[in-house]
C-alpha cells in the first residue's frame, strides 16, 4: 500500500519551552484508518493541527501525497479534510451555505450536486435550509464532517469525532467512517474511546507526552500484547485453591466458584491442557469454561504507564 502522508521528525515547541511534539515520525498508508490514542495533552491535536497548517512546526517535515505542507501548501491542503474536536460553526448560517463555503475555500468550483450527495450521505439533506443554531449537537457534528468532505479530500482527519455524543450517534459515525474508507479515503482519527479504535481502526498509534510510542496493526498489537484469561467455573464452591493447582498461579473469586487463569497467547504452550487435567485430578467438577482477550484499553494503559510493550 502506498504512503499518502509522511511525517518526519516533527517537533513543536512553544515560547514557554513546552515541547508538544518531540520528533514524531509516522507514515500513513493510503486507504487505511489510523487511530491515534493518547491521554489529554499527549500531542494528538497538535500533531493534526500541524499537518493541517493551523500550527507552524518548529522543525521536521510533512508531505501529503508527495507535497510538502509548507513549500507546496496549496496542493497538500487540497488533499486534506479536517473535522475539529470542538463544534465550531457560524450559528446563523444555513447548512447548505456553510458547506458551499467550505468547498469554495478549498478552490473547488461550485457544485451543488456534489454537496447534495455529501449532505444525503450524512442525513443532512432535509436540514439544508436550517440555520446551524437550530440543529442538535449530533447534527452539528455531521455538518462539520460535511464541510470537511465538501472538497473531496483524500485524507480526512477526525479529531475526537465522537467526544460527547450518545451511543447511537457514535455507531452512526463509525458507519460513516466505514463508508468513507470504502470510498478510498484515508482516515486518521484521534479518540479517547479505546473501543472506538478497537472497532474501526486498521492501525493504532499511541502518543504520549509528544512522543509516538508505537504504531502497529491493531490485530498484531492486540495479539502481541494481549493476554487471555481462562475462567474455570466450578459446580461446587471451594474455599482455598488445592495445592495441586498452585503452580498455575490461579486466582479464586470471592464466591469461590471461579478460578481465573491468565496466559500468553504467544507462548508455545499455553498450559491449558495441563491445567484442566490438574483441575480434574484435584477432584473439582467443571460447570463451564470461558476465555476473554485483553481489551485495547488495558494495552493502552500499560503503554502509557511506561511498561515495556
Amino acid at each position: 500500500m502506498n504512503t499518502i502522508l509522511s511525517i518526519r521528525d516533527l517537533r513543536k515547541s512553544y515560547a514557554d519551552g513546552f515541547e508538544a511534539l518531540k520528533g514524531v515520525s509516522l507514515d500513513i498508508r493510503e486507504g487505511e484508518i489510523l487511530a491515534l490514542l493518547g491521554p489529554n495533552g499527549a500531542g494528538k491535536t497538535t500533531l493534526i493541527s500541524t499537518v493541517c497548517g493551523i500550527t507552524t512546526p518548529t522543525s521536521g517535515s510533512v508531505t501529503v501525497g508527495g507535497h510538502d505542507i509548507q513549500a507546496d501548501f496549496r496542493a497538500a491542503r487540497r488533499m486534506i479534510g479536517l473535522v475539529p474536536q470542538e463544534i465550531a460553526l457560524e450559528p446563523f448560517e444555513k447548512v447548505m451555505n456553510t458547506v458551499r463555503f467550505s468547498r469554495g475555500l478549498f478552490g473547488k468550483r461550485a457544485d451543488d450536486g456534489r454537496i447534495e450527495e455529501v449532505l444525503r450521505k450524512l442525513s443532512l439533506w432535509d436540514k439544508r435550509r436550517n440555520a446551524i443554531k437550530e440543529l442538535s449537537g449530533g447534527m452539528k457534528r455531521r455538518v462539520l464532517i460535511a464541510k470537511a468532505l465538501a472538497h473531496d479530500p483524500r485524507v480526512l482527519f477526525l479529531d475526537e469525532p465522537t467526544a460527547g455524543v450518545d451511543v447511537e450517534l457514535r455507531k452512526d459515525m463509525w458507519d460513516i467512517v466505514a463508508e468513507l474508507k470504502a470510498a478510498g479515503v484515508t482516515i486518521i482519527l484521534t479518540t479517547h474511546y479505546i473501543e472506538e479504535a478497537e472497532a474501526i481502526a486498521d492501525r493504532i498509534g499511541v502518543i504520549n507526552k509528544g512522543e509516538l510510542l508505537l504504531v502497529e496493526d491493531k490485530a498484531n498489537l492486540m495479539a502481541r500484547m494481549g493476554k487471555k484469561h481462562l475462567s474455570v467455573m466450578l459446580s461446587r464452591p471451594i474455599t482455598v485453591i488445592p495445592p495441586a493447582l498452585a503452580r498455575h498461579n490461579l486466582e479464586l473469586n470471592g464466591a469461590g466458584d471461579e478460578l481465573l487463569y491468565t496466559y500468553d497467547t504467544h507462548a508455545d504452550r499455553t498450559g491449558i491442557t495441563k491445567l484442566l487435567n490438574d483441575v480434574a485430578e484435584a477432584g473439582l467438577v467443571l460447570r463451564d469454561v470461558a476465555t476473554r482477550q485483553s481489551s485495547l484499553e488495558e494495552i493502552f494503559v500499560t503503554l502509557v504507564k511506561g511498561e515495556t510493550p
Binding site: R78, E90, L105
Partner: protein
C-alpha cells in the same frame, strides 16, 4: 490565485450583510436624516454659509466619511474576529489560501458594505440639501479608497482583538474623536491658528478635506496631500497585515 476561495469568503461575508439588510439599509438612512434635522435644519439655519456652501450641504462629505469609516472598521473587524471567536478560523488556516486571498475576500466584502452605506447616505442627503459634485471621479476614488483603507484597519483590529471590548476600543476611543475633530462639521479655517496647526496632525483632516474638495472644490489642505495621506495609510495597513500573516501573529500558533 485561489479565486474560488476569494469568491467564497466574499459571498459568505455578504450573506451576513444581506441577512440584516433592513438594519444595514434603514439604520444609515435614519441616522443621516437625524443629523440633517438637528445640524442641517435646527442648528444649521443659524449658521452662515461656509465659503458659499450652505451648512447642511457642507457637512454631507463629513457625514458620509463618519459613517463609512466606522462601518468599514466594524464590518472588517467583525468579519475576521467572529471566526476567531467561534473557532471557525481553523477552516481558513487549513485551507489552500494565502494571506492575500484572505484579505481580498474579507476586506473586499467589508469595503463593499461600507460603500453601499456611503451611497445610501449620499442619496438620503440629496433629499435634504442641494448636492453638487464637482469632481465625481475624485469623489468616487476617495470614497472607494476610504472604504478599503479603513476596512484594512478594521481587519487588523479584528486580528488584534482578543475580546469584544477591544473590538470597540479603537473605533470609539481613537477613530470617533479623530473624525469629529477632523472637520466633519466645520472647516478648520474656523479654528484659532494654534488649533489649526494642531489639527494638521490628525490624519482624518486630509481625508475629509479631500472628499469635500471633490464636492465643492473647497479644501483645508492641498488635494495632493490628501491623496498622499490616504495612499500612505493604505500602504501602512497593508504592510502591517503582511507582517501579521508572515508571523502568524494572533492567528496561528
Amino acid at each position: 490565485m485561489n479565486w474560488a476561495a476569494i469568491a467564497a469568503i466574499y459571498r459568505f461575508e455578504m450573506a451576513r450583510f444581506f441577512r440584516t439588510l433592513a438594519q444595514s439599509f434603514f439604520s444609515p438612512v435614519l441616522s443621516t436624516s437625524l443629523y440633517f434635522v438637528v445640524f442641517g435644519t435646527a442648528i444649521g439655519s443659524r449658521i452662515q454659509e461656509i465659503e458659499g456652501v450652505s451648512y447642511g450641504a457642507f457637512i454631507v462629505p463629513g457625514l458620509v466619511m463618519l459613517s463609512v469609516v466606522m462601518l468599514a472598521i466594524s464590518n472588517a473587524s467583525f468579519g475576521i474576529y467572529f471566526p476567531k471567536f467561534l473557532g471557525t478560523i481553523y477552516e481558513l488556516l487549513s485551507a489552500p489560501v494565502n494571506f492575500i486571498e484572505i484579505v481580498v475576500g474579507y476586506v473586499g466584502a467589508a469595503a463593499t458594505k461600507a460603500l453601499f452605506v456611503g451611497v445610501v447616505i449620499l442619496v438620503t442627503a440629496s433629499f435634504f440639501v442641494e448636492l453638487r459634485i464637482q469632481h465625481p471621479f475624485a469623489m468616487a476614488a476617495f470614497l472607494v479608497l476610504t472604504c478599503l483603507s479603513f476596512s484594512l484597519l478594521g481587519f487588523i483590529i479584528g486580528i488584534w482583538a482578543s475580546n469584544f471590548e477591544q473590538m470597540s476600543l479603537v473605533p470609539q476611543l481613537v477613530v470617533t474623536p479623530l473624525i469629529f475633530l477632523g472637520g466633519t462639521f466645520y472647516s478648520i479655517s474656523m479654528l484659532p491658528p494654534v488649533w489649526q496647526t494642531v489639527t494638521l496632525f490628525n490624519p482624518v483632516v486630509y481625508l475629509i478635506s479631500g472628499f469635500r474638495w471633490s464636492f465643492y472644490g473647497l479644501a483645508d489642505v492641498p488635494i495632493a496631500l490628501s491623496l498622499l495621506a490616504i495612499a500612505a495609510f493604505t500602504g501602512l495597513c497593508l504592510a502591517v497585515i503582511g507582517w501579521i500573516f508572515r508571523t502568524g501573529w494572533r492567528i496561528r500558533n
